[in-house]
Amino acid sequence: MTTAISASGLVKTFGRTRALDGLDLSVRTGEVHGFLGPNGSGKTTTIRILLGLLRADAGTAEVLGGEPWRDATTLHGRLAYVPGDVTLWPNLTGGEVIDLLGRLRGGLDPARRRDLLERFDLDPTKKGRTYSKGNKQKVGLVAALASDAELLLLDEPTSGLDPLMEEVFQECIREVKADGRTVLLSSHILAEVEALCDRVSIVRKGRTVESGTLTELRHLTRTSINADLARSPNGLSSLDYVHDLEVDGTRVRFQVDTGRLDEVLRQLTDAGVRSLTSQPPTLEELFLRHYEDPDAQLPAARHEAAAR
C-alpha cells in the first residue's frame, strides 16, 4: 500500500494568525479521504500547501511522492483541483474554461467531457458572469473530473449544488475511486462524507484531532442505552466507561463508550434484560463533538462536570 499524500507537523502563520499548528494528514492511494473541520480550521490552507501555492513554515508534505513546493509543475500534471469558490472570467464561457484548464493540465478526454456536461446538466455556452454559484461549481467539477488526474483535491466542491447534482457528484466520485484514483474531499456535508469516504481526518484550529475510518471514529464516541431490567443493576456506577447513569427503580439510562459496549451488555444481562434500546452515535454527534468542544470532551462529560 502506498500513500498519495502525507503531511506531518505542518505549520503556517499569516501575520499573527496561526492557520496551521502542526497538522498531520495521511491519504492512501486509491481511497476517498474526507477532510473535515469547522470553518477557519485550516482545511483550505492545507490544500493550498499541498498544491504548492503556499509554502509551509514548518513540517513536511509529500504529494504523489514529490515535494509540493519544489515539484509543483510536475505534480500539477498528475492532480486536479476544485476550489470551494470557483471564480470564472466574466467573458469566458464555461466550455472555454473547462477546455483551458484541461489543456493546461495536459489534456482532457472529449468523450468524458461530453458525458459530464450532460450528467451535470451544464450549458457550456454561457459566459462566466452569468452562471449561478452552483453552475460555477459545476464548471470546476467538470474540468477536474474530465481529466485523467491520479489525485483529486476537492475543497468543498459541492457547495451550491442541488440534491440532484449532489447525487451525480457522488456517482462520479465512486467512478473515480473504481478507477483506483485518489480523492481528498473537504466537505461539511456529512451525508456526502458518510456515503463516499473510506477514511476521514478531522481538523480543529490547525491540528488534526482525529483520523481513521468512520467505524473507528464511531468507536471513540458513546452509545446511549435505555433498559428495563429484572432487578436493580449492580456496579454500573463503578464502571469508568459508563457515563450519565440514571437509575429509576429497575429502569436505567446511561451512555457507554462504544468500544466497551460488549462488557456493559454482559453486566445488564446478568441483571436480566426486559427491554433495551440502544442508540449508536450519529455522525452529527461525532463531528459536533470535534467542532464545538475545545478539549474534545464529550458534551456529556461537561454536564457531569457541571453537576458535580
Binding site: 493550498r48 501555492l53 486536479a80 476550489p83 458572469r129
Partner: protein, 533 residues
C-alpha cells in the same frame, strides 16, 4: 427617501477605501495648478510679453487643438490655465471615471454590492453614495485648486471660476460613468466606454476650437463637457452661467442612471449577454493565450485611440511651418522640451506625452497579474502544469507587446498625416522611429509593476503613484528649476528627443536592461512567494 437609505454610511465606506488614492490624486492636481500658475507668472511679467505669447499660441492650430484658446491675451490667469484647462482637464475626467467605476460597476462585479444591498440600505444607496462621494471630491478639488491659484497671485474670482470648472468636470464624468455602468455588462467595458466618451469630448472640443475663428469656437465645442469647462473662461470674463450647463447635464445623466438601475437586475447590464463558444479555440491553450484573450479587446480600443491620436497630432504638426517667424511661439514650444526645429520639437513633446499614456496602458495591463491573483482566478491555473513563471510572464508579455503595438500605431498614424503634408516619404519612417524610441522608458514602468507584483504584491498600486510622480516631476520639475540629477530619476528623461534630436544608444540600452532586471525580479519573486489573495 428609503431608496437611498443609509447612503451616508456607504459614503464613509467609500472614503475609507479611497483614503490613499483620493487624497493623492487631489494633491497632485492642486500641485500642478499651483506650480503652473506660479511659473507662467514668472515667465510673462509684462502685458506686452503676455499678448505676444497668447497671440502666438492662439495662431498655432496644434496648440489650439491641444489646449484651447487664450480668451484674454492680457490676463496672466488666462495664460496660466492654458495647460490646466486642456490636457489636465482630461486627466480630471479620468480621475472621475476611475473612482466612479470603482464604487459602482466593479463593486457589483465583485459581488460586494450584493452583500451590501442585502443590508439595510436602499436600492439606490450605493449609486447615491458614489454620487455624494464624487460631488464631495469635486468640490474639494475645486476649492483647493481655487485657493492654490489665488495663493499664486491670480485674481480670486477667476481662480474660483476655474476651480468650479474642474468641479464641474468631476461631476460630468462621474455622471457619464454612473450612466454607462448601468449599460455595460462588466467593469472593464464600463471603464472603456467612459474613457471613450472622454476622448470624444476632448476631440469635439479640439475640433470645435480649431475650426472656429479667432477665439470663437464652433458649436462642436459646445457639445463637449471639456468645452464647457473652458467656456467658463476663467480670468477672461468668468462666465458663471456656463456652469449651469455642466450641472444640468450631470443631474440629467445621474437621473438616467437611477432610472436604468431600477429597471435592471443586480449584476446584469441593459445590453444583453449572448451565448458564446461551447469549446475553446485552439489559441486558448496556454497562459499567454488566456492573457491575450482577456486583454485583447482593451488593447484593440487603446490601439484605435493611439492611431487616432497619431493622425491628429501628425496633421496638427503639419500646420507649423507658417509660424516659424514668431519668436514667442518658439519659446513656448522649446519650453515644452524640444531641441531643434519647432515642428520637430512639437512632435517630440507630443511623443513624450504619448509615452506617458502608453505607460498607463502598460501598468494597467501588468496589473492584471495582481487582479487575477486577488480575485482567485489565478489559483486554478497555478494548480495546473502552467507553472508560476509562465503564468506571470503571460500578462507581462501582453503588457510589453501591447505598449509596443500602441506606440507603433501611434507613429504610423502621425507618420501618415505628416508625410502626406511634407510629401517626404522618409518622414513616415522617422516618426515611427520617434514613437518607438519611447518604448524603453515605457517598459521600465511595466517592469516596475511586475517587480512590485513579485516582491510586494499588496503594493502594486504604487505603479500608478510612481507614474503620477514621474509626470509631476517632468511637468513641474523644469518649471521650479529642479536639479538635473533629480529630473534624471525619470526614465522618460533619458529618451532622445526624436524626431530632430540625436540618438544615443547607451541610455536606451540601459533602460531596456533596467526593465529586464525588473521583470526578472518580479518573476523570480513571484515564484518564491505565497499566493496571496
Amino acid at each position: 427617501m428609503s431608496a437611498i437609505a443609509n447612503s451616508g454610511k456607504l459614503v464613509r465606506l467609500a472614503l475609507r477605501r479611497d483614503r490613499i488614492v483620493l487624497p493623492a490624486w487631489l494633491v497632485v492636481f492642486v500641485l500642478f495648478a499651483a506650480v503652473n500658475a506660479a511659473a507662467v507668472a514668472d515667465l510673462y511679467p509684462s502685458v506686452a510679453s503676455r499678448v505676444q505669447a497668447a497671440g502666438a499660441s492662439n495662431s498655432t492650430p496644434s496648440l489650439v487643438m491641444l489646449y484651447g484658446w487664450i480668451y484674454d491675451p492680457t490676463a496672466i490667469g488666462a495664460i496660466a490655465i492654458l495647460k490646466l484647462g486642456g490636457p489636465y482637464a482630461a486627466l480630471v475626467g479620468v480621475l472621475a471615471i476611475i473612482l466612479t467605476n470603482r464604487h459602482t460597476r466593479s463593486e457589483e462585479e465583485a459581488g460586494r454590492l450584493e452583500l451590501i444591498g442585502s443590508t439595510v440600505v436602499g436600492r439606490h444607496s450605493a449609486l447615491a453614495a458614489t454620487m455624494f462621494t464624487m460631488v464631495g471630491a469635486g468640490v474639494v478639488l475645486g476649492l483647493a485648486t481655487a485657493a492654490a491659484l489665488a495663493a499664486a497671485g491670480l485674481p480670486v474670482a477667476g481662480s474660483v471660476a476655474f476651480g468650479a470648472a474642474w468641479t464641474g468636470l468631476v461631476l460630468v464624468f462621474s455622471a457619464v460613468t454612473a450612466f454607462i455602468a448601468q449599460l455595460a455588462q462588466s467593469s472593464r467595458t464600463a471603464t472603456g466606454l467612459s474613457v471613450l466618451a472622454l476622448g470624444v469630448a476632448f476631440v469635439l472640443r479640439a475640433v470645435g476650437d480649431v475650426t472656429g475663428h479667432d477665439r470663437h469656437p464652433t458649436f462642436l465645442t459646445w457639445l463637449s463637457p471639456i468645452g464647457w469647462a473652458q467656456q467658463v473662461r476663467p480670468y477672461a470674463g468668468d462666465r458663471w452661467w456656463v456652469l449651469l450647463i455642466t450641472l444640468g447635464f450631470s443631474v440629467l445623466l445621474y437621473a438616467a442612471a437611477y432610472v436604468l438601475a431600477s429597471r435592471r437586475d443586480l449584476g446584469a447590464g441593459i445590453l444583453p449577454d449572448r451565448p458564446g463558444r461551447a469549446t475553446a479555440s485552439k489559441a486558448l491553450r496556454s497562459p499567454v493565450g488566456l492573457a491575450w484573450r482577456l486583454q485583447r479587446n482593451a488593447l484593440y480600443g487603446w490601439a484605435g485611440g493611439f492611431l487616432l491620436m497619431g493622425l491628429v497630432f501628425g496633421s496638427a504638426a503639419s500646420g507649423f511651418g507658417e509660424l516659424l517667424n514668431s519668436p514667442s511661439a518658439k519659446q513656448l514650444i522649446t519650453a515644452l522640451g524640444g531641441e531643434k526645429g519647432v515642428t520637430e520639437a512639437f512632435m517630440a513633446a507630443v511623443f513624450g506625452i504619448v509615452a506617458v499614456i502608453a505607460s498607463a496602458y502598460g501598468i494597467s495591463a501588468a496589473l492584471h497579474l495582481r487582479g487575477e491573483e486577488s480575485e482567485l482566478r489565478a489559483e486554478p491555473l497555478l494548480a495546473t502544469r502552467a507553472g508560476r513563471v509562465r503564468w506571470a510572464w503571460s500578462h507581462t508579455f501582453v503588457a510589453l507587446a501591447g505598449t509596443t503595438v500602441l506606440l507603433l500605431v501611434n507613429g504610423i498614424g502621425a507618420g501618415i498625416t505628416y508625410a502626406a503634408h511634407t510629401g517626404d516619404g522618409a518622414d513616415f519612417g522617422r516618426l515611427i522611429v520617434a514613437a518607438l524610441v519611447q518604448l524603453p522608458a515605457v517598459w521600465v514602468l511595466t517592469g516596475f509593476v511586475v517587480a512590485l507584483f513579485g516582491l510586494l504584491p499588496r503594493l502594486t498600486v504604487l505603479g500608478w503613484v510612481v507614474l503620477a510622480a514621474l509626470v509631476a516631476l517632468s511637468e513641474v520639475g523644469p518649471l521650479v528649476k529642479l536639479d538635473k540629477t533629480v529630473l534624471d530619476v525619470s526614465p522618460f528623461a533619458h529618451i532622445p528627443k526624436l524626431p530632430g534630436g540625436d540618438v544615443t544608444v547607451a541610455p536606451l540600452a540601459i533602460l531596456v536592461g533596467v526593465a529586464a532586471v525588473l521583470v526578472a525580479a518580479g518573476l523570480v519573486g513571484f515564484r518564491r512567494r505565497d499566493i496571496a489573495p
